[in-house]
């Protein structure tokens, strides 16, 4: 039991991951899909950040004292990169949604698919 509670961070990560992933798959609204995708990515950020945590550890700054306990900075730096990637993805995603709204007049999956599958309706308007 205590080992389960001791790993509460992983449970949080898994719950968030599944919530986000569900939204990506099940939601027909493109904006909601993007939100789900963001939650999904954020859960992975949390996973990495909690890996780097060392109990009782402080910020990883060189003090010259070898007994200093500090958190592992590497996963945190990796996630800094991943956050940047995530922002770029979100920006491209929303830019596409705006363009889709402009040319299809909808951001609902099923309405767009109706146009996608109909022949000869793809020509630029």
């Amino acid at each position: 039991m205590s080992s389960l509670l001791g790993q509460w961070n992983y449970f949080l990560v898994i719950i968030l991951m599944m919530l986000g992933f569900y939204a990506v798959i099940a939601r027909g609204n493109l904006v909601k899909k993007m939100v789900g995708l963001n939650i999904f990515q954020t859960s992975v950020f949390l996973l990495y950040i909690s890996i780097g945590k060392v109990t009782g550890g402080t910020a990883p700054i060189l003090t010259g004292d070898p007994s200093t306990v500090y958190s592992n900075p590497l996963p945190h730096v990796l996630i800094l990169t991943a956050i940047v990637v995530g922002i770029a993805t979100t920006a491209v995603g929303y830019a596409l949604i705006i363009r889709i709204q402009e040319s299809f007049g909808s951001i609902e999956d099923d309405e767009i698919n109706a146009v996608m599958e109909a022949p000869d309706k793809g020509a630029a308007s």
Binding site: A82, L96, R99, I100, S125
Partner: protein
């Protein structure tokens, strides 16, 4: 200078990209891009010669920090084989891009188009060069993000490119995120991200459940990026609504790079003897590979739109590569490398040739190419020869890779799969025949628009077609390189 080639391979296109974004005018951006991709191609050839001549692995320590502390770029027999494919296709398609892009994309977007073009190339090159697992993710996202933008640029012609790009973005991001989850688990277990170091340290924790979970996440993420059946639904719309030049570049290179990353991680990190690979992933790849080969071929037979047809056939060809990897023998892996190389040539040529028709207004469909065999003979003959290579007709490169694939299957006593591979290849004849029938056996309808072609337009497609024949007739050196690359993952274990 020679010493710095591994890093130059990546940063030349990467640094050129923002510069190109500043250029104005129709041809300046294209000219610089051609120069840069040509330079990249030259660098990759030099690297290939260096590695094959010495038989050694080139290791470049970034900032002078050696592995495992620093990030290293590794050029070994496998990456030296894949790099010329990416840069070479990139160069040839760029040659053709001038005509295709000015026909399909508004002039004010050209500079940005070529910026994204160079970034996606740089990202793909980076994935192949780097020896660091997290670096792979970053380069993967660089190449994917610019690829989403490139696909979406097809919207000037056909607005369906936008949802296609969006779905590609969602599934591509899910795939990349799965890869990162798996990587996080591996880092927790081993404390390293260097591919070689990961392999060494994984030996201590091999039987834990976390390693299997990590492998499952990474494999699933990469399957999505490769578009292995049944995770291929993003690929067909993305390739068929993208601008013609983008279809040619992506179909020839993008999924191939993901295949390479899968090989790297599967064999280079986990190793062929790791239980999850030998009992799980190998069999799974064989099953999905043959299912994809049939599903893709059958779907291609039913298509009437040429771009969609060839995109479906890509699913089938990726299936053959998956089979090659799944055999888990050096011969099978070599066949996968061979097919990766050869398929890039064929599909690049085919999509370029289809693009010539598409750039003249309307989509290339079986209806719109009726009787076109006499009007644009060079273009249609290129499509015919590319199609023959897809089937695997002798004298083409497609024959060589199918031959080695079937041989590897028979060596491993997988007779059933060998037979099925043969049958599905033969089925490809059906969709190639449909094109031949439309282009040569039917008369050109009287009200059909007149199609044109000039050597400048069909030249690049023919370069790739001739390369297909070249590597089909003089296959020796390529086969040798493929076996050297495969041996790398079965030799000393690392």
């Amino acid at each position: 200078m020679m010493h710095h080639l591994p890093i130059l391979q990546v940063i030349v296109p990467l640094m050129a990209a923002p510069f190109v974004a500043l250029l104005r005018g129709r041809d300046a951006a294209w000219a610089v891009t051609t120069l840069v991709t040509g330079l990249s191609f030259a660098i990759s050839i030099l690297l290939y010669l260096q590695v094959t001549a010495s038989g050694q692995t080139l290791i470049y320590n970034l900032g002078g920090w050696a592995a495992p502390v620093g990030i290293v770029y590794v050029i070994d027999a496998a990456s030296a084989l894949v790099l010329p494919v990416i840069t070479g296709i990139g160069f040839v398609v760029t040659l053709a891009a001038r005509h295709l892009v000015s026909a399909e994309i508004a002039a004010r977007d050209h500079a940005l188009f070529y910026t994204a073009w160079l970034l996606t190339l740089a990202g793909m090159i980076g994935q192949v060069t780097t020896g660091d697992a997290f670096n792979i993710f970053v380069f993967l996202e660089i190449s994917s993000l610019s690829a989403y933008a490139l696909v979406a640029m097809g919207a000037g012609r056909d607005r369906r490119a936008l949802p296609a790009a969006f779905n590609y973005l969602v599934l591509g991001t899910v795939g990349a995120t799965f890869y990162v989850i798996g990587l996080g688990l591996l880092y927790m277990l081993t404390g390293t991200l260097n591919l070689e170091d990961l392999h060494v340290r994984l030996a201590d924790v091999e039987q834990t459940r976390a390693v299997f979970a990590a492998m499952a996440f990474i494999a699933l993420g990469l399957f999505l990026k490769i578009a292995i059946f049944p995770l291929h639904f993003w690929l067909v719309p993305a390739y068929s609504y993208a601008p013609s030049a983008v279809s040619a570049l992506m179909a020839a290179t993008a999924t191939k790079v993901s295949i390479y990353v899968l090989i790297r991680v599967m064999f280079g990190v986990f190793g062929y003897s790791f239980m999850g690979v030998s009992d799980g992933l190998g069999t799974l790849l064989l099953a999905l590979g043959i299912a994809g080969a049939f599903a893709g071929t059958l779907a291609a037979i039913l298509e009437t739109d040429l771009k969609r047809l060839f995109a479906q056939s890509s699913i089938a060809q990726l299936g053959y590569m998956a089979i090659g990897i799944g055999i888990l023998t050096p011969a099978g892996l070599a066949a996968a490398f061979l097919h990766l190389f050869n398929h890039a040539l064929m599909k690049g040529a085919l999509f370029l040739a289809v693009g010539i028709i598409g750039a003249q207004g309307g989509r290339a469909t079986l209806k719109s190419i009726e009787g076109a065999g006499r009007q644009i003979p060079m273009t249609m003959t290129a499509i015919l020869f590319g199609g023959l290579a897809l089937i695997g007709v002798p004298l083409t490169a497609g024959f060589i890779s199918k031959l080695y694939l079937v041989r590897a299957l028979i060596e491993s006593d997988l007779w059933m799969l060998a037979a099925l591979t043969f049958v599905s290849s033969a089925l490809a004849l059906a969709y190639v025949w449909k094109i031949v029938e439309a282009a040569w056996l039917k008369p050109r309808p009287e009200n059909a628009p007149i199609l044109r072609e000039t050597p400048i337009i069909w030249g690049p497609a023919w370069i790739l077609i001739l390369a297909t024949f070249g590597f089909g007739i003089f296959a020796g050196p390529l086969v040798e390189s493929a076996f050297a690359a495969a041996q790398l993952f079965f030799g000393g274990g690392a």
